[in-house]
């Protein structure tokens, strides 16, 4: 199971990083989603992988560490909100800049 999870995490992270490095906002947003997904799974697995082990003491023969589950909940909530925000921001910049490049050349831009 560890190897499977490790491969999954690696593939998710690599795809996420690849997409983040793209030039257009849509793929960057997808990349951020994949990366935050990988991070959440990684955090979750930091309590070590168990089967049949609830995060409650005394319910089963062994119990899982509840803390990573609490951490991952926080991380999921923040990640979700931020994805929503970045989607809105990307749409707004498409409307205002008339293109969907993350870091393209803007001829009308003022020098600073």
């Amino acid at each position: 199971m560890e190897i499977l999870v490790a491969i999954l995490l690696g593939v998710l992270t690599a795809s996420g990083v690849f997409l983040i490095l793209r030039a257009r906002t849509f793929s960057v947003v997808l990349g951020l989603t994949l990366l935050s997904h990988a991070v959440n799974l990684f955090l979750f697995s930091m309590g070590r992988l168990h089967t049949n082990a609830p995060a409650v003491i005394g319910e089963a023969a062994q119990h899982a560490d509840p803390l990573p589950q609490a951490l991952v909940l926080t991380a999921i909530v923040i990640g979700f909100a931020m994805t929503a925000f970045v989607v809105v921001l990307a749409l707004r910049s498409v409307l205002e800049l008339k293109n969907d490049h993350v870091d393209g050349v803007d001829k009308n831009e003022e020098p600073i």
Binding site: L35, T74, L89, E96, P111
Partner: protein, 506 residues
Amino acid sequence: MHLMILPILIPLFFGALLTVLHALNIKDQRGLSLLAASAQVVVAIVLLNLAMDGNYSVYQLGNWQAPFGIVLVLDQLSALMLVMISTLSVFCIAYATTGRKKTHDQAGAHFHALIQFQLLGLNGAVLTGDMFNLFVFFEILLIASYALLLHGGGRARSRAGLRYVIINLVGSALFLIALGVLYGITGTLNMADMALRINALPASELPFIHAAGALLLIVFGIKAAMLPLLFWLPRAYAAAAAPIAALFAIMTKIGIYAIIRVFYLVFQNDTGLNEQIFQWLWPLALATLAFGAVGALGAWSLRGLTAWMVIVSVGTLLASVAQHSQPSLAAALFYLLHTTLLTAVFFLLADIFHHYRPGPRDYFVTGPRSQDRILLGGLYFMAAVAFAGLPPLSGFISKFWILQSTSSPWAYALFWPILLVSSLIIIIALSRGGSALLWRQNKQPATTVRAPLLATGIVMTMLLGSILLSVFAQPIMMFTQSTAAQILAPERYIEAVLGGLTDANN
């Protein structure tokens, strides 16, 4: 005593209140916002007084025991940061309310609520003694800053904002990976407890910790704008509305605070774990300093120049922090106070010029003859003297002290020339800017715009702060020296948090 949680509760309460009361007329909103900010100044000063004697105060949230629950820890460093944050925020809020037609706080919705949430994140980040809690407060301050950066709207803000948000989201993901590794290896999130556990780890586990430390350096490097990670900063700070950019002057310093806190406490390892990190930090800091100076020389406008000056100050601070000695840390803390104040002053000055010179705004091009040149010129001259490090103002004292505090041959061979040359370049850039803004004038008829009275008064008051820093340099230096000594004695922090020496809950 529940005083310690007030810097978090006050902005949280007022931020929520201002969100609910968003239909309130703008005068009442300003009143509430200024009231909250002033209350934070009072609380911060009381807390500074409490921390002054070098003792730690520990506040256990919900009375949960230290390594299991979240703790807030007050030491001299966090008290100093709290005072700086709250004082600067009062000026920024006050500045945002000035103006003739459309003031900054009316340019978009929820300005005052967002400022309070930003303060919530900033105050929380400097108080917390828990790694994951640090992440959460970082997120709070970042989310507020995303909205504040976009406040007022416009093309430039959308462009800069998109990049700023994306790079910080990647930073947050890396932060979580680092925390995951640290928790997976040490099994704790409390900073003091983590420091103890890292010390007790077998050598085979240390590479993981080292990797997590390097990831944290990247994360804090994004916040602090360290060299390969700083390209978001100039556009973002130049695009933000002036009072917001002035408040953002704190944000890079929060990255530096986190570097000091994490690498001097959690990674303070007998095997020299933090020394390995500082080996990376040192050349990057010097490169940041040099790069910032080159950028400053190429700036077109006063706000652009100020954004590059932020980078110069970050480079100076990081280089001092990386030297890992008490004198250089103490000098860095004094410089931190000075540079945060002065970069904020310059952002506000740039905004005054923006309204005061209708045609060329704050760009370094010749404009028509204008009114109140002596008043604004005097302010600009004083701020420039203070920032560039010419005697007699605080810039000279702090830079002199930073130079004096170096001890290694590398510092003499590299840090001295780079810092001195970059200071010279800043002097050139500032005098070039000043003569274009105020001195030279074209043949067009003179403008009738007067300098905005209230805004100029606020900037003047802030510059008074630089004079105060110079006049009271001796006591402040004593304080930063004892702060640096406290930072370099992490065992006392650990003892205070885990030993229950001072229990602020009772």
